[in-house]
Symmetry: C2
Subunit: 330 residues, 2 copies
DNA sequence: CTTATTAAAGAATATATATTCAGGAACAGG
DNA sequence: CCTGTTCCTGAATATATATTCTTTAATAAG
């Protein structure tokens, strides 16, 4: 019976503290007990579930999917964005916005940011950065050489340069092909002092921003400006490759898939990425689910920004998200 | 759109703080923002009602009735106890228990406690005090002389003495009649050095514990050991008197009701009670509702301990309490 | 193109809260 | 009737949190 009286007092203390917003010392004085006791009572109130705290996720946020992603793939953070339709265009736009906000909010001074230049999602991110909202970064480092068509290279250069301007950082471009014609050609390029200088920054990158690519010959070949032959791609898929970031290929379990191609890539290595403090991946869309899953299994990625549809596929919660869900195979 | 991204971040911060129990600085480090920002985000989360805190009153407690009592009568605190049946015996027992716990929990060292000796509810309180749980008080002061029958006087003395022992205090008895035969008889008693000594403590009382009495001739006369005549009581009721504490009579609005009787009472005055830091009243039961209402209106009482039925009557919430409610006139 | 004004953020700091510590009492087992 | 043990306090203190202050930059008005 006196337990009830004790709980009543605790409930009253909790009421004064949480609902009336009074200070503990004020409550203590009011009830002629010590502040320490009030603090202990409040702790007990939590334990006894006399106070219950609920987080109401704002509509359009997917706290649960984010939690599942974090737990399942050991991510440091996950951001799942609302997206009305499961179309790549819309998805990339939403992810880009979220990534831009994330960058604005959490960018620290003097960071060295590595960017794998030619992902469309990253482009969307850059387009959405509010100039001045992001604090000063030090360098924006291009972590992968350009691809084929000089026009595309220009885009990459512009993306890096623009991001550098937005963050007040110095751009460090990688004036080289992403994929050299041969191992020898790669060595030649590496001997270029400018290339070297940029690549020497790779181990100093504090924040890497990656796109994740799938390996469907069609898009891959197109994107790469026909640097790869169909045969080379088949080598990758034959070895189990399901996707890549910065042209580091991996299989479903996230294991590195090494092919002759690997030796020709000029860009940041998986090992170097593993050393980076924060690796952020931006990716979403039906076709990429498998690639993303593999990427997450590499353990390289700290933070994933994706859309709700992809998040649902990745967590096996296809049927639990609000709104229409397609039962696309994963 | 970026507002959503901001809210998402806030929700995540709230989640980490409230659900995962992480420190703000930890969260700040995790998200690469300053602790100050986390603090601000958490405040915003409250404002935006992303975090909702609820106090779940333990079953058997009546937070709502307590709030209403506090608000309606300007009480510092109110305690409403559970009580299965609306019977005076059960009610007094429950109130006594609650009062005992209250005293144990909130008694400070070196307090001077005034007790109006002959209320049965107070007796129940004393019976329920856990020896040693209450900290040391200084004096237990009897604030009203004994009533009629010497046997009853003995009870009063025992109550005071016992409470004194339980709290490690020194008992200060009022060796006098509660109601003198005449004004002259009162003056005689007041000249007694022991009586004087105790009464000199009245202004120094830091905590007064009162019972509240109604004025039905039957019980009142019985209780008083026929000190009052029916006529005297009629004087009181004719003047609008509805109740008393420490034989200070008042009407429905809490105004003092002064009759010739008043000059014969030997006990603490209403004015002296008004000066006391904490005045606790213990009272409940159908028959006393009106008296309690008047008592609360005097403004003398800081804290009321009562039962749920009485509380409901006092707040006009007869129909809103859980369980059976009698529609007794108030 | 200036010059207020506002907003937002982190560093420094003030304030509030949690925890450690020491003391006292109850209890159990010698 | 003693211990040793546990539990419970409040005082002192360590720690965490809120706020102030200052800087920076954006926006609006002149």
């Amino acid at each position: 019976m006196s337990r009830l009286n004790e709980l009543r007092l605790i409930a009253r203390v909790a009421q004064m503290y949480h609902l009336e917003g009074r200070r503990q010392s004020d409550i203590a004085q009011h009830l002629r007990i010590s502040q320490a006791t009030v603090s202990r009572m409040l702790k007990k109130a939590q334990q006894e579930e006399i106070v219950r705290t609920t987080i109401v996720a704002p509509p359009g946020t997917y706290t649960d999917l984010e939690s599942k992603l974090r737990e399942r793939y050991g991510l440091s953070e996950a951001i799942v964005v609302e997206c009305s339709e499961d179309r790549d265009g819309a998805i990339m736009a939403r992810i880009g916005e979220a990534a831009a906000h994330f960058l604005e909010a959490t960018l620290q001074s003097d960071e060295i940011i590595g960017v794998s230049s030619w992902s469309e999602t990253i482009l969307k991110m850059v387009q959405n950065i509010d100039p001045g909202k992001a604090s000063k970064a030090k360098y924006i480092v291009q972590t992968l050489g350009g691809m084929g068509d000089p026009a595309v290279q220009t885009h990459a250069t512009q993306l890096i340069t623009r991001l550098a301007r937005l963050t007040g950082a110095e751009p460090r471009l990688l004036a080289a092909q992403g994929v050299a014609q041969s191992r020898e050609a790669k060595l030649v390029m590496l001997s270029d002092p400018y290339v070297r200088e940029t690549m020497d920054l790779f181990p100093k990158i504090t924040l890497a921003i990656l796109g994740i690519g799938g390996i469907e010959p069609s898009s891959m070949l197109a994107r790469s400006g026909n640097v790869f032959s169909s045969n080379e791609l088949r080598d990758v898929t034959d070895a189990g490759g399901v996707g890549e970031f910065s042209l580091c290929f991996f299989d479903t379990e996230g294991r590195t898939v090494k092919t002759p191609l690997s030796d020709r890539v000029i860009g940041v290595s998986r090992e170097e990425l593993g050393q980076v403090e924060r690796v952020v991946a931006l990716a979403g869309g039906q076709s990429k689910a498998n690639a993303i899953r593999g990427a997450l299994c590499t353990g390289v990625i700290d933070l994933l920004i994706t859309d709700k549809f992809t998040a649902a596929r990745l967590t096996g919660a296809e049927n639990s998200i609000v709104g229409e869900v397609e039962d696309e195979a994963v």
